[in-house]
């Protein structure tokens, strides 16, 4: 009995895997995989050395490309037996380093799990393998008037397995939900090689609901091998309103007024003036360049519903002091309105050699404070930042512009980003709304959570993976790291940037 109270050892410090024997590992894996599915020469491993967070690179020991679930089971059993770290990988578009390889580990690529196993139009669900691209699901469902609702901007490339692992969102998630809200069932393999199904084809499953634990778990609890998603009927019509404001706070208040009026728009996005200028130059969406902020508000549904909602939205925007309001007249214009917003990342890439995308979420009413603080940080770090914002749900994407070839720039950008994350927490929000913690935000986890929660997370991890082999070093910091980070923060000149604000 008493031993059950003991803390799992691996939550305290990073586990040392330097004893892994590559030759022995490759030999065991070669019994399960054909040569084309087992890469271990350095030149073959290079393409896997980073994900969308390209600043961090690490070549793994081995990459495996299984084609069947039975192979995944065998691979995980081998890794468990030899105590080798395993990092699952989808398309590698993650922005927080979640799929970054482990130096002494295996990268388990799901690239060959690319089949759509079935679309059941009557029951409105699709069963797909984890390597299927997000957009491919909607394309397969389109002939039935259905689609898969979550639409991350990376949807042409990112995989559904990665979406599940990150609980990804998109511009329509205020109304249609995140990945978790659009899943029925996830099938996965534990590090012990056990096949487990989370959720069910019904709307709930018996016992504890482990689906929300696995969703967003960044490949730390199980390797996903099959996903059953809900499909949503395509709205008959969508229309978009574009509004300009001479003040960002007014634009923020307009967002609050729309929600307070009982409207849940299909999309509600904001961009500040520098972001607007950057994308306008790039895509010519017709955005007003003199506005301090622009809002995009989309309404979808039946033609009657859309007409009613657009009328109400328009009135609210005008009452909130919008300097201009335009309603898309046709589908081409609606897509043009969106083209600018969707091009925000590439536009940032065009005006700056590098950019660093942040992902904090804050209560919407704190938006003005956050934007003012970011302006002050731009001066402090002598670095520009442009802001795009999922305004409806408070998820902010400041894009810090820098040049990695300039000495010190990378480091400055990281410090700038860290300060934004810390402020997100101080304002009552979170360090990540949709991109995940990965390795990128691991230190700031120590600001958002206290030791008892960090310990609880390690216990959840141990419930699935007692040896800590799945994606070690990601998402949940060790207690040791938090202690160090705490000391480092204490040593800074302004240890408590906003002492008046309630800590979360």
């Amino acid at each position: 009995m008493a031993d059950r109270f003991e803390e799992p050892a691996f939550g305290a410090v990073e586990r040392d895997f330097s004893q892994v024997d590559k030759a022995r590992l490759v030999q065991a894996l070669s019994r399960v995989l054909a040569p084309a599915g087992l890469l271990h020469e350095v030149e073959d491993l290079r393409p896997y050395e980073c994900d969308g967070m390209a600043a961090l690179r690490q070549v793994p020991l081995v990459v495996v490309l299984p084609e069947t679930e039975a192979q995944v089971v065998e691979i995980l059993k081998i890794c468990a037996a030899q105590q080798v770290p395993v990092v699952a990988r989808g398309a590698g578009t993650g922005l927080s380093g979640g799929a970054q390889p482990h130096r002494f580990g295996v990268v388990l690529s799901l690239a060959r799990f690319g089949k759509i196993l079935g679309v059941d139009a009557h029951a409105r669900r699709a069963v797909v393998q984890p390597g299927v691209r997000n957009l491919a699901i909607s394309e397969a469902a389109a002939p039935f008037g259905l689609y898969y609702a979550p639409d991350p901007s990376s949807q042409i490339a990112c995989t559904i397995g990665g979406n599940v692992a990150e609980n990804s969102g998109g511009v329509h998630c205020l109304k249609y939900g995140l990945t978790i809200h659009n899943l029925l069932k996830v099938r996965g393999v534990t590090i012990q090689g056990e096949i487990v199904e989370f959720g069910s084809l019904a709307l709930d499953a018996p016992g504890y609901d482990l689906l929300p634990l696995v969703t967003g778990s960044e490949g730390m609890l199980a390797v996903v091998t099959e996903v059953t998603v809900k499909l949503t009927p395509k709205p008959q019509l969508a229309q978009c309103v574009l509004a300009a404001f001479d003040d960002v706070v007014k634009a923020g208040d307009a967002v609050a007024a729309i929600i307070a009026a009982g409207i849940i728009p299909a999309g509600l996005e904001m961009m500040d003036q520098p972001a607007t200028a950057a994308v306008e130059e790039f895509v010519k969406a017709g955005y007003p360049l003199d506005a301090e902020a622009i809002l995009l508000c989309e309404s979808d549904g039946t033609p009657e519903e859309v007409a009613e909602e657009i009328g109400r939205v328009r009135a609210i925007l005008e009452n909130s002091g919008a300097t201009a309001v335009r309603v898309s007249r046709d589908e081409a214009e609606r897509l043009r309105f969106w083209a600018g917003r969707k091009a925000a990342f590439p536009a940032a890439g065009r005006i700056s050699p590098d950019y660093y995308c942040m992902d904090g979420t804050i209560p919407r009413k704190r938006l003005g404070e956050m934007l003012k603080a970011i302006q002050a940080m731009e001066r402090k770090y002598a670095m520009r930042c442009i802001n795009v914002f999922h305004a409806g749900d408070g998820n902010l994407h400041p894009l810090i512009l820098f040049d990695a070839n300039k000495p010190g720039d990378q480091h400055t950008a990281e410090a700038f980003g860290a300060e934004i994350l810390e402020l997100s927490v101080a304002l009552g929000g979170t360090i990540t709304g949709e991109h995940g913690v990965g390795i990128e935000k691991i230190n700031q986890m120590c600001s958002q959570f206290a030791t008892p929660e960090i310990k609880a997370f390690h216990r959840v991890k141990a419930a699935f993976d007692p040896a800590g082999l799945l994606n070690p070093g990601k998402a949940i910091p060790t207690l040791n790291r938090c202690a160090e980070y705490g000391r480092e923060r204490m040593g800074r000149t302004s240890p408590q940037a906003h002492p008046d604000l309630p800590r979360f």
């Binding site: 084809l201 019904a202 018996p206 504890y208 929300p212 519903e305």
Partner: protein, 354 residues
């Protein structure tokens, strides 16, 4: 409030050290639910009140012992609601009990279940530690999503002290239609409608009558009514119907015959089990009054891809909830041990040994 939380935390710590058992009770409105409750009573009623409510942020934070009726009244004043439509079952039901039971009402299939609206939680775990997960924002992927996993855990993972929930605006317009039809046709129609952009917010079928509720913008509801036909119910009759189904005051739920809750894929065929039946959630939830042996019912439901809960009036010493596959049961045991290693909270309420 801090004193109360500290006192509870101390009580949990002592129970854990001394082999004590606590039976958490909100309003006690669901005492009937799950396996037989055991342990010393810990009532949450003193931990009540709304901590933060921001209608324009669509978030409310509330202490767990707050009566559901009180919370819903505050939301209604601002034209908002708990969209998962929690059943009350009795006057004293609390929001903590509601989330712990994880039960949702008629709107479930349209908008989501309890877990879909949980944004954050504070709880006391089985070590007496006070933990906070999630938060008050809509999107948050920092750390494992423990707060959502509390929905339906029946108080076996910890004592919930505070919850942050997403709220939604009440629909501007609502209409309920009735159609004469049999079970197979009703199931077919419900799935067909589900695949169309219609503002369906609830559905039910019972002996010959299919009921459909439409909610949303005035124009959208009007257009759907015109398109679907059927016979419109007046407002009073519609409210009585949906409340009766939500709170189980409908005559279907009266009497002492075992009541089974069957959770199925919406397109699962007719059950073909004898006993009176009520279909909800577009076909995904079906209630059955039957004395058929549990094994028969479970076998049939499993074959249809679902699971069966003995909801009321059965043997509460056996399995109320559907048996789990071995690998899943092992994970669930591990999770229970992670939060409550001494087995303090509601032992056995969910499964034996959990």
């Amino acid at each position: 409030m801090d004193d109360l939380i500290q006192a509870w935390s101390e009580r949990v710590r002592q129970a854990a050290a001394g082999g004590g058992r606590l039976r958490i009770r909100g309003g006690g409105s669901k005492d009937f639910y799950g396996r037989e409750p055991v342990g010393e009573l810990l009532e949450t009623g003193a931990c009540r009140g709304i901590v933060n409510y921001e209608p324009s942020e669509l978030v409310v934070s509330v202490r767990a012992g707050t009566p559901l009726a009180e919370l819903e009244a505050v939301l209604a004043e601002r034209g908002q609601m708990l969209a998962f439509d929690p059943p009350h079952f009795a006057a004293g039901a609390t929001i903590g009990g509601c989330v712990a039971a994880g039960l949702a009402g008629p709107r479930r299939a349209a908008v989501g279940g309890v877990r879909d609206f949980v944004l954050g939680a504070r709880l006391i775990d089985g070590r007496g530690d006070v933990l906070r997960f999630g938060g008050e924002v809509m999107k948050n992927v920092a750390g494992y999503d423990v707060s959502r996993a509390l929905a339906g855990s029946l108080g076996t993972l910890g004592l919930i002290i505070e919850l942050s929930l997403k709220v939604l605006p009440r629909p501007l317009a609502e209409a309920t239609l009735r159609f004469d039809t049999d079970e197979a046709d009703a199931l077919h129609r419900l799935n067909v409608w589900g695949g169309q952009p219609l503002p369906v917010s609830a559905s039910a079928w019972r002996s010959g009558g299919l009921y459909l509720r439409l909610s949303g913008a005035t124009a959208a509801v009007g257009a759907a009514v015109a398109r679907l036909g059927g016979e419109a119910l007046d407002e009073g009759a519609a409210a009585a119907l949906w409340c009766g189904l939500r709170d189980h005051t409908d005559p279907f739920f009266a009497g002492e015959l075992p009541l089974w809750r069957l959770s199925l894929p919406s397109d699962a065929l007719a059950l073909e089990l004898d006993g009176e039946q009520l279909v909800e959630w577009g076909g995904a939830q079906r209630w059955l009054r039957s004395e058929r042996p549990a094994a028969d019912i479970r076998q049939r439901v499993e074959a249809l891809g679902g699971h069966a809960t003995l909801f009321r009036h059965g043997d509460r010493h056996g399995q109320c909830f559907h048996p789990l596959p071995a690998a899943m049961l092992a994970l669930q045991r591990n999770l229970k041990n992670a939060f409550d290693p001494a087995g303090v909270f509601n032992p056995g309420r969910l499964y034996e040994g959990l």
